[in-house]
């Protein structure tokens, strides 16, 4: 049965035999590093916006009429 299972899933042999696994591994690494960079930038933006919002909030508290 196991043998039959592998015969109907020839993609396994192709995937590793042809070196495609390297390509998939490379793409996965690029995706995870890309995700990390995106999160890094997003965190920086949020922090910048947070600082700006705090500054505006402080200004509004100082000049309540304005």
């Amino acid at each position: 049965m196991c043998h039959t299972l592998l015969q109907v899933n020839p993609i396994e042999g192709f995937f590793f035999g042809s070196g495609k696994s390297m390509v998939v591994g490379g793409v996965a690494v690029i995706i995870i590093v890309g995700l990390g960079l995106w999160m890094w930038r997003m965190e920086k933006r949020i922090q910048r916006l947070d600082k700006a919002a705090t500054r505006r909030s402080n200004e509004a508290n100082k000049n309540p009429q304005a």
Binding site: G26, A28, D50
Partner: protein, 356 residues
């Protein structure tokens, strides 16, 4: 301080990059797939004696390298006997003769293969003999079986029925661990929220909310990767199993937490109600995923007496990737939680500014 803050995030991503690369590029070790009757007979002397021949099928084996060194045995308990290898067809196929005494101590036998490159491989209950007299007291001559270790570069262990999908271990299990961590953070935040006086801030409530939101992402990913694995190993996307059903119910319970939050407008009431609900949700998580499956029959590895990736399954090659995967996913999850928390706080701050 800033350096530490940076390094754990970079470290998490670096660990995951290492995990993804090794997960997809490290080859699977050799193993035995089948030992089957060829429905042909070979004669030893060409005239009188006809012997059944069997086909030995391996996966990732190297039998054409030193084919004369390929040894085949069958074993039942401490009883072991060799079978002659007639012909090595290619790296993964060989023919053997079922040359056995008329009286055997058992019908079901494990098949063992010894090879200098692949080491000693076994196929449990790989041979079921028919047409022999079975006498449990029968004794076979014990040949010398010297177990060998594989002479191969770094590879993942061959596991019957799992095969190449063993790589999913680096995704599926750490995702659930990360969900547990995040739900644990939410649980602690909810306790601290409730321990505040009724007029206290919703600081911890926001933490619990952000943690559950990110934890839900990992929970759903855990369900998807588990379902994919089940399709390959059990033949169905979903089976009626206490572990699987428990996981789904847990995710639904936490979805209920988010729905509850959305249905209450008063901020203080929302914070307290959500915190109480979250305490129960975490207890349900523990019962459904950690306690109940251990007392019931389950297909899932590690549950109901079903051996999982424990001390003998999780060998050093898997550990070298699995532990960094657990740490990497947890660091990524924690980072996502922090960003989500910062975004929620910013949103709240901007709403206050707009109201003013």
């Amino acid at each position: 301080m800033r350096m530490i803050q940076r390094s754990w995030k970079i470290g998490g991503i670096a660990l995951l990059a290492y995990v993804f690369w090794t997960t997809f590029t490290v080859p699977l070790g050799p193993g035995l797939l089948e030992f089957r009757d060829r429905n042909e007979a070979a004669s030893t002397d060409g005239i009188t004696k006809r012997i059944e021949t069997y086909e030995l099928i391996g996966l990732g084996t190297h039998w054409t390298v030193q084919p004369e060194e390929l040894q085949l045995f069958i074993r039942k308990g401490d009883q072991i006997t060799p079978l002659p290898v007639i012909d090595v067809i290619n790296d993964t196929h060989a023919h053997a003769a079922l040359l056995l005494p008329d009286t055997l101590p058992s019908k079901a036998w494990d098949v063992l293969v010894n090879h200098p490159v692949d080491g000693t491989l076994s196929l449990q209950n790989g041979l079921f003999v028919d047409g022999f007299v079975v006498d449990e007291s029968a004794r076979l001559p014990r040949p010398q079986l010297e177990e060998r270790t594989a002479d191969l570069p770094h590879h993942f262990p061959f596991q019957p029925r799992i095969f190449e999908t063993i790589r999913n271990l680096m995704l599926h299990v750490p995702m659930w661990f990360t969900m547990f961590l995040l739900m644990g953070i939410a649980f602690v935040a909810s306790i601290r929220q409730l321990s505040q006086s009724s007029g206290g801030s919703s600081h911890f409530d926001l933490r619990a909310q952000a943690s559950v939101q990110v934890g839900m992402v990992f929970g759903v990913l855990g369900l998807l990767t588990g379902s994919l694995w089940a399709r390959y190993t059990w033949g169905a996307w979903w089976v009626d199993d206490p572990q699987l059903n428990g996981a789904l119910v847990t995710v639904l319970v936490y979805a209920g937490y988010l729905i509850l939050r959305g249905s209450v407008e008063d901020e203080r009431l929302k914070a307290r109600l959500a915190a109480v609900y979250n305490l129960f949700a975490f207890v349900i998580l523990m019962i459904l995923l950690m306690v109940l499956p251990r007392f019931t029959e389950s297909l899932h590895p590690g549950k109901g007496g079903n051996p999982g990736f424990n001390s003998y399954d999780l060998d050093s090659s898997l550990r070298a990737v699995f532990y960094p995967a657990v740490l990497g996913w947890m660091l990524l999850g924690t980072w996502m939680y922090r960003i989500r928390l910062q975004a929620t706080r910013l949103n709240q701050k901007l709403q206050c500014l707009n109201d003013e």
